[in-house]
């Protein structure tokens, strides 16, 4: 297993690319930078594929995961402790999915960026950051223990910060970067606490040992509202996940993150990084499954976020922000899936979402590129004829995300809804909310399509010269489009001809199927699935029709509705005033404290006072002692002699005392 045994290569390549570009790229022409960046990521992708092949052929049949320790990073064994964190990488079915998604989509987006960023300044910087992100993301997904995972976790945070603030001359971009960073810190705080708790409980943070210990039947499953170790630990981990994956209440940074270049939004804030939270939850599903509460919280938060974000997305006019909110809401779906115990479905949705959301962003980027930087959909329209490829691919992506039959999103979303439905009894609130969200999704996505590509052009055609993007950008679009269609077919549900839930079975090595599935009989399950699928399709259709009616038939209607529903509209447009709320609740008090306490009292009086005091003291002492330093070397010599005398006296004192006695006598 040449590559699998040297899994670090997959990581190292992007790091290398990043370093080379970062250190030497500034003087190089774009072509060289491309070669380095694309070469490193492409090779990394190839290695990943090979590694996966080896894993599937050699390791997977044996039914265990591949795990290799490369070197000790932290090891307190020498000093008595037994805490070991190694640079250990592991590969199991879950990792396979993540690695392929990260490297594959990442590579495509690298290609796209060469076209999109061609005329930007700081070209090498951009690719250096992008490769750095790849490195950390791979560390995150390949890590075999929480600490190493956390390294990747923080690393992607850093990369995201750098890339959001890529246009650091634009104040809004810089602020957005800071916002993302700080909000993530809140989540990471929880994450670290979770790690501490886990270590304190199990004495290890290594996945295999930890989960082995956790799945030990001695641990009872903690029921509803029982706050045992598992519940607390899971909730703390989930807090981190919320930060990273922009769930309520920490989602606020993601929409602003759209300040970064569009490929960044596609790669980091849609396809890969933001799904890290889902990955962590799925990775530690054993812990979550031990706690009723945690699962419910995850499900509810996810569901709420999905609806909440979707509702905001309804009225946004900035094309990228719409997509951002849709991302948030889709992430909510994934967490919903995890919350109802259908981790497989969640991961599956993660994958499909990576495909079509990346595609959406890239296409949006292509649109913006075509419009010469224009992002407001109100100033677009009727582009479908001018930029055909972009239009078609984006349409495919839209169909996929809205869950049109046989598109990727269809299967994943249905799987989630089905799981949600099966999971709970009674009113099925989660399911219903999820369904509404699906409807809303269909609405705002088609609203985006119609506003952008159909209707009359609403821009000044004399100034804006719409033009199709170069193939370096369109190529990835096409490939991703293909994936958005066929990517779902891994998981053809068994009720369809030829479908055999391949994906679920594939992941079943990691996630044993939830009990509810076995509860129903085969046929009943199928009939239920079919019904739910039809319902979902119906919902999607409704959303589509509404959007069609509002934005193509009577374009003036939306304004009227907005006027008639003034308060609701305002709330939505202002995103439920969440940012203002946070500003009032957290930011301003902080500023006040830092200004009046930390600055005026602590810094000026205490710290500066101390420092200056020391300085003055030193000056005073110096003034008095200065006279010893006459500059006359002989005096210094005498001082040296005195020092020598003292030292020798100390050394030989015991034996010298009697002699002194003799002298005095």
């Amino acid at each position: 297993m040449p590559i699998l045994d040297h899994l670090w290569i997959v990581l190292l390549l992007p790091l290398l690319g990043s370093a080379i570009n970062g250190f030497f790229g500034s003087k190089w022409p774009n072509r060289t930078v491309n070669t380095v960046a694309l070469g490193s990521t492409g090779l990394s992708f190839a290695c990943a594929v090979e590694a996966v092949r080896e894993f599937v052929t050699y390791v997977a049949p044996t039914g265990q995961i591949f795990r290799k320790e490369f070197f000790d990073w932290i090891f307190t064994g020498a000093s008595g402790g037994n805490f070991r964190v190694g640079f250990d990488l592991q590969m199991d079915h879950l990792t396979v999915v993540m690695v392929l998604v990260v490297t594959g989509v990442g590579f495509l987006i690298h290609i796209y960026s060469t076209g999109y960023m061609a005329h930007e300044g700081g070209y090498y910087r951009f690719f250096s950051y992008l490769n750095l992100f790849m490195f950390f993301m791979l560390t995150l997904v390949l890590a075999a223990n929480y600490v190493l995972l956390f390294v990747g976790w923080e690393g992607v945070g850093l990369a995201s910060y750098l890339l959001i603030g890529f246009y650091f001359l634009r104040r809004s971009a810089a602020d957005a970067g800071k916002k993302a960073f700080i909000v993530n810190r809140i989540g990471d705080f929880g994450f670290m606490l979770g790690m501490f708790l886990l270590y304190r409980t199990f004495g290890t943070l290594d996945f295999s040992q930890l989960f082995a210990a956790a799945s030990n039947p001695a641990w009872a499953r903690e029921g509803w509202a029982v706050f045992g170790t598992f519940t607390v630990a899971s909730l703390l981990l989930f807090m981190g996940a919320c930060g990273k994956s922009a769930q309520l209440p920490l989602y606020v940074w993601l929409p602003d993150a759209m300040e970064g270049p569009t490929p960044v939004s596609a790669l980091i804030h849609a396809a890969t990084m933001v799904t890290a939270g889902v990955y962590v939850v799925a990775r530690s599903h054993i812990l979550f499954e031990h706690s009723e509460t945690a699962l419910v919280v995850v499900a509810v938060v996810g569901c709420a976020t999905a609806f909440f974000a979707a509702s905001i997305g309804l009225v946004q006019t900035d094309i990228k922000r719409v997509l951002a909110y849709s991302t948030v809401s889709q992430l909510g779906y994934m967490f919903l899936a995890c919350g109802v115990g259908a981790f497989g479905a969640g991961i599956f949705h993660l994958m499909t979402h990576a495909f079509f959301k990346a595609l959406l962003f890239l296409a949006a980027g292509s649109v913006i590129h075509a419009m010469g930087g224009e992002q407001d959909m109100r100033n677009m329209g009727g582009l479908s004829s001018k930029i055909k490829v972009t239009y078609r691919t984006m349409l495919i992506a839209t169909l996929a995300i809205t869950g049109a039959p046989l598109f990727a999103g269809f299967f994943s979303k249905d799987a989630i809804l089905l799981a949600a439905y099966e999971r709970e009894t009674g009113m099925h609130p989660l399911y219903l909310v999820g369904l509404c969200t699906a409807l809303l999704t269909a609405f705002y996505m088609f609203r985006l399509i119609f506003l952008t590509f159909h209707g009359k052009p609403r821009y000044d055609e004399h100034h804006v010269h719409v033009h199709e993007s170069p193939w370096s950008m369109l190529g990835p679009l096409v490939i991703l489009a293909a994936l958005s269609i066929f990517g779902g077919w891994f998981a053809l549900p068994s009720f369809l001809p030829g479908g055999r839930d391949y994906f679920k079975n594939f992941l079943s090595a990691v996630f044993p199927a939830p009990e509810a599935a076995q509860a129903l009989s085969e046929s009943a399950a199928h009939s239920l699935e079919i019904t739910l699928a039809i319902v979902a399709i119906a919902a999607g259709t409704v959303g589509f029709l509404v959007a069609y009616w509002l934005y193509l038939r009577q374009p003036q209607k939306p304004a009227e509705i907005a006027r008639s529903l003034e308060p609701v509209y305002k709330t939505l447009v202002n995103k439920y005033y969440v940012d203002e709320l946070y500003a009032a609740a957290v930011v301003r008090p902080l500023i006040w404290i830092s200004d009046h306490v930390l600055w005026k009292i602590v810094d000026v009086d205490a710290i500066d006072g101390t420092v200056n005091g020391i300085a003055h003291g030193a000056t005073a002492v110096g003034d008095s002692v200065r006279h010893a330093q006459s500059g006359n070397a002989r005096s210094y010599a005498v001082w040296v002699v005195v020092g020598a005398l003292v030292i020798i006296a100390i050394l030989f004192w015991p034996s010298l005392r009697p002699m002194l006695g003799m002298v005095t006598k």
Binding site: S630, N632, R634, S635, A637, V638, W639, V641, V642, A644, L645, I648, A649, L651, F652, S655, L656, M659
Partner: protein, 167 residues
């Protein structure tokens, strides 16, 4: 009193007298000459202890290079009899007694503790040049390379100091 002991005392007296005259001579050249005497005497002591290589190096490097350098500089600067200034009161009153006290203290310490140190059983047996060099190039090779580097640095420093500033 064995021949070795006689030799030792002769050489020791020579060294001490040389050191004293280094202090008392007023002209740097005489001081330098007395220092050379001390060095030769010490080389003789090395021989007495059987450290012949060290003795040879002592004479070649100290006597043949370093002291020549000193005399060369004295000649070059045409240094005359030193002037006896006493700007430093500390040195004038405190210096001599303190330094003598240091001497006495050291000597006393050695007298009291020296007897604890074992005496060599076979004089000069170990000091074969070959073993010395083997040790130097195996165990102490890194320090050795370091000294070579040090010398390089010193050469550079001397060059920089020696060249007259262009103007």
């Amino acid at each position: 009193m064995s021949a070795a002991l006689l030799t030792f005392f002769a050489l020791a007296t020579l060294a001490t007298v040389g050191a004293l005259s280094l202090i008392l001579q007023r002209h740097p050249i005489h001081s330098a000459l007395s220092l050379i005497v001390v060095m030769v005497a010490i080389a003789g002591l090395y021989l007495l202890m059987g450290a012949e290589f060290v003795a040879a190096v002592q004479i070649i490097v100290y006597g043949g290079a370093i002291m020549v350098l000193f005399i060369f500089v004295i000649m070059l600067l045409n240094a005359g009899v030193e002037e006896r200034t006493d700007f430093s009161k500390l040195a004038k009153f405190g210096g001599l007694p303190l330094a003598l006290a240091l001497t006495g203290l050291l000597a006393a310490a050695m007298v009291r503790h020296g007897s604890a140190i074992p005496n060599p059983d076979t004089p000069g047996a170990l000091a074969s040049t070959e073993t010395l060099s083997t040790l130097l190039f195996t165990t102490f090779v890194y320090p050795f390379e370091l000294t070579s580097f040090l010398i390089l640095v010193a050469i550079m420093g001397a060059l920089v100091l020696a060249q007259r500033e262009k103007n």
